[in-house]
Symmetry: C2
Subunit: 192 residues, 2 copies
Amino acid sequence: MSLQHALLGVLEARPMNGYELTRFFEAAPRWVWSAPHSQIYPTLRQMEQAGLIEGQKEIRGTKLTRTVYSITDRGLEELRAWTGTDHAAPPVRDAFFLQALFFDMIDQDRAASVLKTHLAEQEQLIAEWGAHRDALLAKDTDLLKERLKSRPPAEHDRIARLKAHVFAGQIAVARARADWARESLRILSEDT
Amino acid sequence: MSLQHALLGVLEARPMNGYELTRFFEAAPRWVWSAPHSQIYPTLRQMEQAGLIEGQKEIRGTKLTRTVYSITDRGLEELRAWTGTDHAAPPVRDAFFLQALFFDMIDQDRAASVLKTHLAEQEQLIAEWGAHRDALLAKDTDLLKERLKSRPPAEHDRIARLKAHVFAGQIAVARARADWARESLRILSEDT
DNA sequence: TACACCATGTAAGTGGTTACATGATTGA
DNA sequence: TCAATCATGTAACCACTTACATGGTGTA
């Protein structure tokens, strides 16, 4: 159900069509949820049926149509309710740590290469999320600016800080993984 | 495909039937992968067809049959190949951080309650993984003892340390999340 | 003899992946 | 006029969830 809430969360900032939302969710990282357009379009139609969002058909040029969706009051309510509810932790299922569990069965070189790739990926994420976090703190992202338009100016700082803080959380997790990978590389080579 | 490799990884220690494997994977946390029995039994049959494992039918009492699976050479090879391969990082999809992104839209009390629940869950995980890690270091888990029987004694320490280290990784991630949740609680109350 | 545990299944449904498919518009 | 981008879809497949279903065995 989370894709629906992720979509609601973006549409809360401003109305968008499927294509814009797709750019958001397909650009994989730099955010907290990802999804391909093949999942987004049907979900949007479902959500409209459920009354969470409202679609407005528009025409660009002479034939190309697009449907711009905006969040409804019911959608806002649903987003708030979901955000304020405790959800059971998802089952543990981490392919990378699973892989690492069997490092004793393979060459050190191979294991080291897997670790280095993971390390690079995590550092990439840290950099991207870091940039996004800074942009949020400076209130310098398209979406945040839109969002703040409908909030009292006195709250702008607080909102920006809260949003930025979420990315600090993702960064903290990625850093823990990166540090662990670095330590693992040390342990592997020590044993030689 | 990871469930298959998780199963191979357990069967590498010793042959087991579906029920035993289920106890392993359904007891949710305390390990790195989880799956219900409804997924495990069909997967085992698939893996047998693929030649990764071999089933041996046994009879307990007069009628109750069980199939004990053991890993084959092909299975071992597959596990080693998978373990030594770089796999693309899974798409970012973290429901908890998604929820946190919208904390500015709800009451501080509600947000704090969600954070506290998450904190408790993470601390639970840290405790369980910590216990498992200690047991591994002491070479005092059923599975590890079985596993070590087929390895040269000179390697026992190294293997135990590597396995334990994986749980240290999971703990590090959980701790990062717990610390972040604690910090978030501080930030929320500061703003009051 | 009743209860906890052993043992294994099926089936419907959901969320996500991957691939295929089509066509319009804009700007260099 | 060509390429990049805009815009939206369908369909097959896979992993996982949830619920339903059945019956045997050991022991208190």
